[in-house]
């Protein structure tokens, strides 16, 4: 009788323990992400690394950043499952990649692509003191045609 009782009860303890340890982990990852996005002007959470993206959407964001010659802090969510879940909760955004500028969540691949096409990205970068290479190239062109 006693053994049955213990057997039945112990999984509940185990689950309760798991649950609390998960909650602590969540709080820790939240703080970690908060520090990352607030200490860097541009941060990209992506699949893979800039030299070897492992998802087409992440690759598109890398290519956009490259065109603007923006240096950024990148984090590979495939290397850290805790980060992969944590970032989705932090920004309340369900997909990867995710781009942050000046601590603010800006968007994923679709939004970056549209901001790039509309010229909005150049403006957003300017606001945080980053001059896009596209702007520099534009000015050089105007200068030479004078």
């Amino acid at each position: 009788m006693n053994t049955i009782l213990i057997r039945n009860v112990s999984p509940i303890y185990k689950n309760a323990f798991k649950l609390t340890s998960r909650l602590f982990a969540d709080a820790a990852i939240n703080d970690k992400i908060d520090k990352i996005v607030k200490n860097n002007k541009v941060v990209v959470f992506m699949k893979g690394v800039p030299d070897a993206p492992r998802c087409g959407f992440s690759n598109a964001v890398v290519q956009i950043m490259r065109m603007h010659a923006v240096s950024y802090d990148s984090h590979d969510v495939l290397a850290d499952e805790n980060l992969r879940q944590g970032i989705k909760e932090y920004s309340n955004w369900p997909t990867i990649p995710q781009v942050f500028i000046n601590g603010e969540f800006v968007g994923g691949c679709d939004i970056m692509l549209q901001m790039h096409q509309s010229g909005e990205l150049v403006e957003e970068l300017k606001k945080v003191g980053i001059k896009s290479a596209l702007l520099t190239a534009d000015e050089a062109k105007k200068e030479s045609s004078k």
């Binding site: 893979g48 998802c55 087409g56 992440s58 955004w93 369900p94 997909t95 994923g108 679709d110």
Partner: protein, 122 residues
């Protein structure tokens, strides 16, 4: 709303997605956003998933409800409406969210998403 012939052809080719999840996506967006135009495109075939899988989608939604809302807010609306799907197997969701006016003046060509680079399921 009047649609150009090109759009109709395009949507016939691209959005005849009829899976269970595709239908659920279509219904939820239609009801909540009263879309004037909608395409639900299953792009799963571009990825390393079983045939007929419903994991990667692109949705095109044209709605008055997007009027005056920044892109990120429109995307958040769509993401929120499809929360259940995104938590249960839908892994990628690409969104085109336009107002009827923006749609009319755009070229109405929906480009397909970038190719997979093998990160899925890893």
């Amino acid at each position: 709303m009047q649609l150009s012939i090109r759009t109709v052809i395009l949507s016939r080719q691209m959005s005849n997605t009829t899976g269970v999840i595709a239908n659920s996506i279509r219904n939820k967006l239609q009801i909540a956003l009263q879309a004037k135009h909608m395409e639900v495109i299953n792009e799963s075939y571009m990825h390393n998933v079983p045939k007929g899988a419903e994991t990667h989608f692109k949705v095109v939604v044209v709605s008055d409800k997007f009027d005056g809302l920044a892109l990120i807010k429109r995307h958040r609306m769509v993401n929120d409406l499809l929360k259940e799907e995104l938590q249960n197997g839908v892994h990628a969701l690409s969104i085109v969210a336009k107002t009827p006016q923006q749609w009319e003046t755009s070229d109405q060509v929906i480009e397909s998403s970038p190719n997979c680079r093998g990160g899925f399921g890893k």
